[in-house]
């Protein structure tokens, strides 16, 4: 009999835990995911960072919680699209680190994304004026 136990339950555990949280938290998670590209590119604005630093920068400067495993495939895609470039650097720790920095095209791209984000947020704010008035 094929083993159903081959299914990985770890993912189910995380998913199940997420589903147990209130609907607002769930929706916030979705909104955050939609801004991950922008968050990663923005975190590189001031200079080069390696993967773990990018995660920490995002978590400290914003309230975004980034699933660690997703950042690396995402960085690989951003690199393929030409928005970032990467280089391996020998660290004092003894193991090398892969640093990422924005390319010239990447800097222009993140500026455009930032404008688009502001427009989006402003539009949504206008829509929410009556909602906020009601809330007071």
């Amino acid at each position: 009999m094929p083993k159903e136990g081959r299914d990985r339950e770890r993912g189910a555990g995380r998913g199940a835990a997420g589903d147990a949280v209130d609907p607002i938290a769930r929706w916030e998670v979705q909104v955050r995911k939609g801004s991950l590209d922008l968050a990663i590119l923005a975190s590189l604005w001031s200079g080069r960072l390696y993967g773990l630093e990018i995660l920490k920068r995002i978590e400290s400067d914003s309230s975004l919680l980034v699933p660690e495993g997703t950042v690396y495939p995402l960085l690989a895609r951003l690199r393929e699209e030409g928005w970032v470039e990467a280089e391996w650097v020998e660290a004092e720790a003894g193991h090398p680190r892969k640093y990422y920095r924005l390319t010239a095209g990447g800097r222009r791209h993140v500026v455009k994304m930032a404008h688009a984000w502001s427009r989006f947020a402003a539009s949504l704010d206008r829509l929410l004026v009556p909602v906020r008035k009601e809330d007071r």
Partner: protein
């Protein structure tokens, strides 16, 4: 043993990334190792660090889906597109539906191409007929079955028309799928591991519900009914294969888990398969068919195979279909997917009883699927063959190699006998 745990995690990641260029795999693994080292250096515990990263399966799926889609989007190769969309299908519902659409388009395009090629070898077996009643019938008769009466309208024009129609259908399908894939790749959804985890886990939770079982059974039944009503081109086996693949993947299984594996001992498997196949067909011709003839009043109707008599080209063409659609395709569907799935559903009966029930039910289904063209006696004969192939499967520790060979060989013997004009009922 924290080193062991981490090494095991990376071994699995390495294995899961297989298929990507070796240099890319090394880079990915090196980067993630660096991340783990850094996290441990900051005081993290190995289990927690690995848990925050995710499972090797999930991470590898993200890398593979992205890369496959990128290559598929750039290249022209249909094979690249199919493998790219297959990877996409394993991480996203959108990818799954894209794969369905791609396979359907590929099947229709291939049918047009096959129609064009068939006209060269067996002109009478394909065409657009105007029936006596004024209706039209577009038929491709690769499998036994009478061809329509009336005037055939296209003649050899069906060759360029078939190739052109096939190319157009393929072009439209691949463009639609590539653009859908490109849109999905650009969307932030793809970057979200939890979302993908949620899709995968909610799908995997859903497959354990009775509702999913009902949907799956309904899909299988619908395919058989559609086939009986000639709504499916050529055969429902490819569609059942696709359904079987989806069912397996959603349950976290692969074809190798239901027996599609390389044999350890090729010689033994081939010998057993050939002997079993020859024995099955000989027994059928000498024993079961005469018994069935006595039971039903007439033998299985094989007159539709008359076109094979003395026709070497048709025999060779049929061998291609025999070994792909019949031997591989039907064994994967009936013994691989359906027999195990029915046994799953009958699980409460206990393992032996469940498989026995499954064996009987799937053999009946196998017989019914072959009933057209051969009548009720044909259904009985094929049902019996299905039973024997099922026994071969179960007796060989649920491996498909022997039933595949036996199925192919028994069909080959039957077709050769018909070709020579020696098969009972065909002269």
């Amino acid at each position: 043993m924290r080193g062991d745990r981490i090494d095991t995690w990376f071994d699995e990641l390495w294995a899961r990334l297989g298929g990507l260029p070796p240099a890319a795999i090394e880079e990915i693994v090196a980067e993630l190792r660096s991340h783990v080292h850094e996290s441990l250096r900051e005081g993290g515990e190995p289990e927690a660090v690995l848990a925050r990263l995710g499972t090797p399966e999930e991470i590898a799926a993200l890398y593979r889906a992205d890369r496959s889609l990128a290559r598929a989007g750039g290249g022209r190769s249909p094979w690249l597109l199919v493998t790219g969309v297959t990877h996409w299908a394993t991480v996203s519902l959108a990818g799954f539906f894209a794969l369905l659409g791609l396979v359907a388009g590929l099947w229709v395009a291939a049918s047009f191409g096959i129609a064009a090629v068939t006209k060269l070898f067996a002109p009478g077996r394909v065409g657009l007929w105007r029936l006596p009643g004024g209706e039209y019938s577009l038929r491709l008769g690769l499998l036994p079955g009478s061809m329509p009466e009336g005037q055939e309208l296209l003649g050899f024009w069906i060759i360029p028309i078939g190739f052109a129609a096939g190319a157009i259908v393929w072009w439209v399908t691949s463009r639609l799928v590539r653009s859908a894939g490109a849109r999905w790749r650009r969307s932030p959804v793809m970057a979200a591991e939890r979302r993908i985890g949620r899709v995968t886990t909610s799908l995997r939770a859903a497959v354990r519900t009775p509702a999913f079982a009902v949907v799956e059974i309904a899909a299988v039944v619908a395919l058989f009914i559609a086939d009986a009503r000639h709504l499916v081109p050529l055969s429902n086996t490819p569609f059942l294969l696709l359904l079987g693949w989806a069912s397996l993947r959603l349950r976290g299984l692969r074809w190798r888990d239901i027996g599609l594996t390389r044999p350890d001992d090729w010689r033994r498997v081939v010998v057993i398969g050939v002997v079993a196949g020859l024995a099955m067909e000989t027994f059928a011709v000498l024993v079961t068919e005469p018994c069935i003839a006595r039971l039903f009043g007439h033998a299985p109707d094989v007159s539709d195979f008359k076109f094979l008599v003395g026709n070497l080209k048709a025999l060779l063409l049929l061998q291609i279909l025999n070994w792909t659609l019949a031997a591989f395709g039907e064994e994967m569907v009936y013994r691989g997917y359906l027999l195990n799935r029915v046994a799953d559903f009958a699980g409460p009966l206990g393992s032996r009883a469940a498989f026995a029930t499954a064996l009987v039910l799937v053999s009946l289904l196998f017989g019914w699927a072959h009933a057209e063209g051969q009548g009720l006696p044909g259904m009985a004969q094929e049902g019996w063959n299905g039973l024997l192939l099922g026994v071969l499967y179960l007796a060989n520790r649920r491996r498909l190699a022997v039933p595949i060979i036996a199925h192919g060989v028994s069909n080959t013997l039957a077709f050769v006998l018909i070709y020579l004009g020696k098969y009972p009922g065909v002269s």
